[in-house]
């Protein structure tokens, strides 16, 4: 038996085991610790004894025993509840029929509104995805100590907020699902926007995000925004092989070799969208996915259906307005109509104090001025953008434009 078989079993079972423990004992911190103990026992025993026939039940039993041992050994707050919970026998259904709802409950617990977004992200990767603290810390390029603090802070905040392992009310459900989607999308973006460094780690986050959204999609198959978020990630990830050149430099969408794009992911993403688009209210993830799909289906940057994209950005601007949407809208309008029309779309952003320090405003403005034949003013804008950006590949790209 190889380590990866063990790992697969572990990653598949961990969230369910955690779900079963949480349903009974409630406290995320205690249950995670017990699960960690069970993982250590499994890592020692399974390679020798083989994976048990029912690994989930095995892990639940071992972890429960740890929880009870600990409650007996210490007179802490959990003692009575833990021991009380342990008196009740496990129903067989505890081990099997709760899968779907457990996944959801776990997502909702980890994305509880009492937590900050970075805490929600860390907790989801730990508890739902089953990654180790070391893996999460490495992926976010922070010391293990820092990530450990974030996680324990998050568990304390959950405890203080009285967060429970339950499904939210119908009234809260839309906001809670939106938070979960947002967290998954943040994980994806963190991985996708990397271009160098530890390639394995970047792919890890992209894959984890897609895996998380797949789980969410399986639990909420009729939720159009969940499907939209999954489609968006697949369609965006399809560009990964083309977005960095051999030297490790960023290749913008306009210059990517489209023959490198992953057709399998594009097909899956487009199918998902087609199945879900026509159902009433269209949310921001579906719209973003639709935009990415239009790009994916264009043979070249020039041949892109820019009119369609500018209309979709216009809709997105109404559903989820943001400066980033306006910037992309301006580019689409410039391509669909003419650069001057695109520059006009940018106008309102010029008075926004937050945007005046944002490199993207100047990068886009420079690009549109360039298209308009105003090379001198374009350079001025590129120079400001290059100074403001904190992205090394974007800075190199802008500096190359200035050197021309």
């Amino acid at each position: 038996m190889t380590g990866s078989v063990l790992d697969d079993v572990w990653r598949r079972e961990a969230p369910h085991v955690l779900g079963a423990l949480l349903r009974r004992y409630g406290d995320l911190g205690d249950c995670e610790e017990a699960l960690q103990d069970a993982a250590e026992v499994a890592a020692a025993r399974w390679p020798v004894d083989g994976v048990p026939d029912a690994p989930r039940a095995w892990l639940i039993t071992v972890a429960s025993r740890r929880l009870i041992d600990r409650a007996r050994a210490d007179s802490a707050r959990v003692r009575r509840e833990t021991l009380d919970a342990a008196q009740r026998p496990y129903a067989t259904q505890d081990l099997t029929t709760h899968d779907r709802d457990d996944t959801l409950r776990l997502f909702f617990l980890c994305c509880h509104p009492a937590l900050t977004r970075p805490s929600q992200v860390a907790l989801c990767l730990r508890a739902v995805a089953g990654l180790s603290v070391e893996q999460i810390a490495a992926a976010y390029l922070v010391p293990v100590r820092t990530m450990t603090q974030r996680l324990s802070r998050a568990r304390t905040a959950l405890r203080q907020a009285g967060a429970r392992f339950v499904l939210p009310s119908q009234r809260d459900l839309p906001d809670r699902v939106a938070a979960v989607i947002d967290v998954c999308h943040l994980v994806f973006t963190e991985g996708y926007t990397r271009t160098s460094g530890e390639e394995l780690l970047d792919v890890l986050l992209v894959k984890e995000a897609i895996r998380l959204v797949r789980q969410l999609h399986a639990a909420l198959p009729d939720h159009a925004e969940v499907a939209g978020a999954l489609a968006l990630m697949l369609l965006t990830h399809a560009r990964s092989p083309a977005r960095v050149d051999a030297a490790g430099d960023l290749v913008p969408l306009a210059e990517q070799d489209r023959s490198l794009w992953r057709r399998d992911l594009i097909t899956e993403g487009v199918e998902l969208l087609e199945r879900n688009l026509p159902r009433g209210h269209v949310g921001r993830f579906q719209l973003q996915a639709a935009i990415t799909a239009v790009h994916a289906e264009a043979a070249t940057y020039k041949e892109t259906d820019w009119l369609q994209i500018s209309l979709l950005y216009d809709m997105l601007g109404r559903v989820a307005p943001s400066p980033a949407v306006t910037l992309n809208h301006a580019v689409a309008v410039a391509m669909a109509h003419d650069p001057a029309a695109g520059l006009a779309v940018l106008e309102p952003l010029l008075d926004d104090p937050a945007m005046q320090r944002h490199h993207r405003l100047y990068a886009v403005r420079g690009h549109l001025l360039d298209l308009n034949g105003d090379a001198e003013d374009a350079k001025k804008q590129y120079r400001i953008a290059a100074r403001l950006t904190a992205s090394m590949p974007e800075q190199r790209y802008l500096n190359r434009k200035l050197a021309r």
Partner: protein
Amino acid sequence: MKYVILIHSNPQPWGHPTSDYLGAHQALPAEVRDRLNAEFEQVMAELQANGELLGGEALGDPANARLYRWRDGEPLASDGPYSEAKEHLAGFFLIDVAGQARAEEVAARFSGPDETVELRPLMWPGGDDQ
């Protein structure tokens, strides 16, 4: 987003925490000094508890610096300090916070009399392909 907070200072004699060796700081009324010290302790504890602090170091006396300059195709070593400036780099803190606003809030709380606190964003290896 990651930032570095650079502390430029000139404690006499060189020592840490720098505020203990700065005349302007020592000249403050005791209760003001106590308040500033307590605020610093508090912001450090807060950064640690939030998982926002990535690390930090105090630097040695700039008189101990060795400088390497390129001369005739070779490094030429000399003794520091790097410049005759009024202040020297005395230490740094690395933080990872939600955004610029939070970074500015933290950096402001590191400041004190006769010191300059510099907040700089870290470059990151990623970028957008749009």
